[in-house]
Symmetry: C2
Subunit: 149 residues, 2 copies
DNA sequence: ATAATTCCTATAAATTCATGTTGATATTCG
DNA sequence: CGAATATCAACATGAATTTATAGGAATTAT
């Protein structure tokens, strides 16, 4: 299966949650709230947020009243950065980014295929910022509400 | 990680191997040869070829002198078909093809993102036939040989 | 009959996914 | 100060999935 890991999926939702709460006075969001919102166990979120912190996509505030915030404005964080932080690399097969993974890159007839697909995906994720996604979600929400009326 | 499973990778190489041997008199290729060519264990190839057979992408000939051939001409087999046969579905996250996988598709802000990415990939794989890939590989090979001269 | 080859089922090994445990450290607030 | 709140860190554990190997039964050409 070509599949995005749960780390990538959950991490993206985590970041979107932070993006939605970004810059409304009471900044820091605690993992417990995100856990409840997104229905992901706190323990797992703790693991997932570590690489996001290391890659300076989120800032942590320790102690009582603490929590997490985005390190930058939502419009300055690209989805590709998030996925890259969470996955290390973001290629369909290792050899696309690690020459030593396969022995016969020079000969391999599929290498260029997987490479092409990987670049396609990268371009897509590169063109999306957290703000874009939040905006999309808000539009969707509006539509849903209009429907329900 | 966004990653193509080994099944998908090995299966594609298997099919390409069959494509290269397609229609040159002595048709059927035995797994042993493919195993040696591609350096994949016969046992694993046996498992991988089952869904390819079920989806009528390859034909098998049993017994001594038997082996496998493509069920259709290489130009009539799309990469997307191969991957679909091997993976069941070929989406970045399950919910894109299985509504019941996630509970909140209607609300989920990331659903449309993953769906968009999945469709991008599908389009890419849909536009490539085995023949295309073999042709690409031959060109690459020629180039390599020219270089080595 | 014999050898070659697919077919079928079981299972071992490795990795990913998700939760749990324990306790340390930093911060706010009364 | 002391209590409460949260992050931080290092493991441990078990379920699920993926990856890979193994043994032997069924089929066919010679
Ligand atoms: S799959 Fe990596 S070089 Fe072919
Ligand atoms: S990830 Fe499946 S609906 Fe959001």
């Amino acid at each position: 299966m070509i599949r995005l890991s749960t780390k990538g999926r959950y991490g993206t939702r985590l970041m979107l949650n932070l993006a939605r709460h970004y810059g409304n006075g009471n900044d820091a969001v605690i993992l417990k709230h995100i856990s409840e919102d997104e229905r992901i166990s706190i323990r797992y979120l703790e693991q997932i947020i570590i690489p996001l912190k290391i890659n300076r996509l989120v800032k942590s505030i320790r102690g009582a009243g603490g929590g997490y915030t985005l390190a930058r404005k939502p419009e300055d964080i690209k989805l590709s950065e998030i996925l890259h932080a969470l996955e290390g690399n973001c290629c369909l097969v290792e050899c696309v980014e690690d020459d030593s993974f396969c022995d016969f890159i020079e000969i391999c007839p599929t290498y260029d295929i997987w490479k092409g697909a990987t670049e396609l995906l990268k371009g897509y994720f590169d063109g999306l910022t957290l703000k874009d996604i939040v905006t999309m979600a808000e539009k969707k929400d509006k539509k849903n509400k209009a429907k329900a009326r």
